[in-house]
């Protein structure tokens, strides 16, 4: 799981993240949290990439590092031909309208003392886009697009809305500057299933309407599969598997992906949950990650080699890449596995 390598990169992407490294110091101990280690990922124009993993696997940190928020410790983030990591404050600020973020908790990500009209128009005011009348029209347009009645909503404050509606407002705020890329950090984790469905459908509509490129971060593979064109599975700061959602589900190659898939509750009473093969224990500390493959401590297939050698990303099928010494694929379909 804990694999490095760039075999899965495609070259002509809108956003390319290479060898991303994010570390945080642990007090004055001299130790560091290895939040993200040597992670590479690319996102093509108009694509939705789903980033999945457990809590603490570094998926949110990756999302924030792409935004340079905070700047990563190492690696490059190339957006539209510019390496964001080399930019200074003002240059970076100028790239912000093109990249926006939506957060997990919709209520706490909106200022409770401001009206919805203020919240959604603030980005336009900061960037002095158009005349006041044009700005107001733009705010009305996005509020309408996310399914809120501008005439009613603009004068209200966040507490007057439900969680799902607050998430719609957060989406409207992210869209108002017409960004190219939106990073959604667990946008539906705090919502009920019925509201979750509304927000997922809305994100799909918005993507089509505004030609968005999205990074969708979540821990639920079923949700990620629904919205993504490509799914990247992360574990403890490393990339495990990258594939198209349908092939990832049909034939997960990484033992961790398979474990994630079996954890999802299925709304079908004839399929009893099977505790066998369940992932046991919890994610190890990123301060002292395991040697070799970082997943080996919980992996049912781990061998000695996994402790010594870090697996590299490699291709197992069309647009299906995995970082594992012993991937779950048929020997025939696995040209590279026999060697090394």
């Amino acid at each position: 799981m804990a694999g490095s390598g760039t075999a899965h990169l495609r070259g002509d992407a809108l956003l390319t993240v290479e060898h991303l490294l994010v570390e945080f110091p642990v007090g004055r101990t001299g130790l560091k949290v290895n939040a993200v280690t040597d992670l590479s990922l690319d996102i093509a124009d108009g694509e939705t990439v789903g980033l999945v993993g457990e809590s603490g696997c570094g998926k949110s940190t990756t999302g924030r590092a792409i935004m340079q928020f905070p700047k990563p410790t190492g690696g490059t983030v190339v957006f539209d031909g510019t390496d964001l990591t080399t930019l200074n404050g003002e240059e970076l600020r100028r790239t912000r309208p093109a990249m926006q973020m939506i957060f997990q908790d919709p209520i706490s990500s909106l200022n409770p003392r401001r009206t919805i009209g203020d919240i959604v128009s603030e980005p336009l005011n900061i960037w002095k886009r158009g005349t006041p009348a044009e700005r107001a029209a733009r705010v009305d347009e996005v509020l309408d697009a996310v399914g809120l009645d501008p005439a009613v909503a603009k004068a209200k404050r966040p507490h007057e809305f439900s969680g799902g509606q607050c998430q719609r407002i957060a989406i409207a705020r992210a869209l108002v500057l017409e960004p190219k890329v939106i990073i959604c950090d667990e946008p539906v984790s705090a919502l009920d299933v019925s509201v979750q469905a509304q927000i997922l459908n809305l994100l799909e509509d918005m993507k089509e309407r505004y030609q968005l490129t999205m990074v969708f971060i979540a821990h639920d593979l079923a949700v990620v599969k629904n919205v993504s064109d490509r799914v990247a599975v992360m574990y403890l700061g490393k990339m495990c598997e990258v594939a198209s959602p349908d092939s990832l589900y049909a034939a997960p190659a990484h033992p961790y992906t398979r474990a994630l898939l079996t954890s999802i509750p299925v709304p079908d009473p004839t399929r009893r949950p099977d505790p066998e093969g369940r992932l046991q224990g919890e994610i190890p500390s990123p301060v002292m990650p395991p040697s070799g493959c970082r997943f080996r401590t919980r992996c049912p297939l781990a061998q000695e080699r996994c402790a010594q050698e870090e697996p590299q990303m490699r291709r197992v099928a069309d647009d299906h890449y995995v970082a594992c010494h012993f991937p779950l694929v048929d020997a025939a379909a696995e040209p590279a596995a026999a060697t090394v």
Partner: protein, 374 residues
């Protein structure tokens, strides 16, 4: 504990009736009297639960499922709350018990696990103390005995190095570990009935699966009944004996789990199920959504509460409230005039689609004619 234990004829002391259900709830109503009006949070719910069985209570936020479990357990404030109906636990009517009397039931007979394991544990108390508190109070254990029992409990809920963990504080544990501690606290005195109120909503899918497995294993070992409250039909599908679907404070459909999924009659149940993204579906499958929001519980709509959002709604639904009536399968009840999967229901949906009725269009975007759950 220096406190004197209140002695009363607790249900267990008064001799259990081994036959008969463990819990009988009859037409309970919990209304909150607020300045803006009476909030009918639970409005006439009836169910029975047998020993060792699991009842799933499913519904959206604000459907009254949490208030239902708190009403049964007597965990609501006494002021400005109107409580009606009968609750019988092992044949004893506990609905009129005082707080003092309930105290002998909490912990020993009924336990509860809450949604957020961080805020339901005391942050300034070691976890060992939080487990031994009830052991010392209810079971009169001495310190050493209570500590040993606590370590055994931590082991049984799957906490590694329990001898060390027992002296740690909640913030030193991860979310999943905290929920395990919470389970150990609620299981300490061996309750016969456990309320699990969204026990895994704050957790990752992998940890959720572990916690649900743990609850199931403990249930079998202790022959304990569980009321599992959740908003996710996926969570209850493989793990409950019966399911009650709640909407706006009322049970709108109730059935044995397998029957509920194969013969669901209530459009709300169908809509809840269809809103879950399924792994089997190709990506970018449009999800069926339930338009609008749950009703205002101060001024609920006339007729069926679900009618403003229902794809099947007909004029009758806006006027007459459907009663909970029996379906063909034993134990299956639903409240709907135009049930799913019947000729009347199909006709109602077709009429609504033809009339360009918004709720019906939302529902049919994914194609309602596909078999449910496929």
């Amino acid at each position: 504990m220096a406190r004197k234990k209140v002695v009363l004829t607790s249900p267990s002391a008064a001799g259990d009736k081994i036959d008969g259900p463990l819990l009988e709830v009859e037409d309970i109503r919990t209304h909150f009297l607020t300045p803006s009006g009476t909030v009918r949070a639970v409005d006439g719910v009836t169910f029975t639960l047998d020993r060792g069985k699991t009842l799933g209570v499913v519904g959206e936020s604000g459907s009254g499922k949490t208030i239902l479990s708190r009403s049964v357990m007597g965990l609501l404030p006494t002021r400005n709350v109107l409580r009606r109906g009968a609750i019988r636990y092992q044949g004893h009517s506990i609905s009129d018990y005082s707080q003092q009397q309930m105290r002998s039931i909490w912990g020993t007979e009924m336990g509860m696990i809450f949604q957020d394991p961080m805020t339901s544990l005391n942050p300034v108390m070691k976890i060992g103390k939080q487990i031994t508190e009830s052991l010392r109070y209810h079971l009169d254990m001495d310190k050493g005995e209570a500590r040993e029992t606590a370590i055994a409990l931590l082991t049984s809920v799957g906490i590694p190095e329990p001898g060390q963990r027992i002296d740690e504080y909640p913030h030193q544990l991860s979310g999943g570990m905290r929920q395990r501690v919470m389970i150990a606290v609620s299981l300490a005195c061996g309750p016969r009935l456990l309320f699990a109120d969204e026990p895994t909503t704050a957790l990752d899918v992998t940890v959720q699966a572990q916690i649900l497995d743990l609850l199931q294993a403990q249930q079998v070992e202790r022959h304990m009944a569980i009321i599992l409250v959740t908003h996710d039909l996926g969570v209850v599908a493989g793990r409950t004996d019966d399911i009650a679907v709640m909407y706006a404070g009322k049970v709108v459909e109730k059935a044995p789990t397998a029957v509920l999924f194969s013969e669901m009659r209530m459009p709300y149940t169908e809509a809840l199920l269809n809103s879950i993204p399924k792994l089997e579906d190709p990506s970018h499958t449009r999800l069926q959504i339930i338009g609008g929001r749950p009703p205002d519980l101060i001024n609920p709509p006339t007729g069926c509460n679900f009618s403003p959002r229902c794809p099947y709604a007909q004029p009758k639904c806006f006027v007459d409230e459907p009663p909970l009536r029996d379906a063909e399968s034993p134990g299956h009840q639903f409240a709907c005039w135009y049930p799913v999967g019947t000729p009347e229901g199909r006709q109602a949906l077709e009429d609504n689609v033809a009339a360009v009725f918004p709720a019906a269009l939302l529902a049919t975007e994914t194609g309602l004619d596909q078999p449910v759950g496929a």
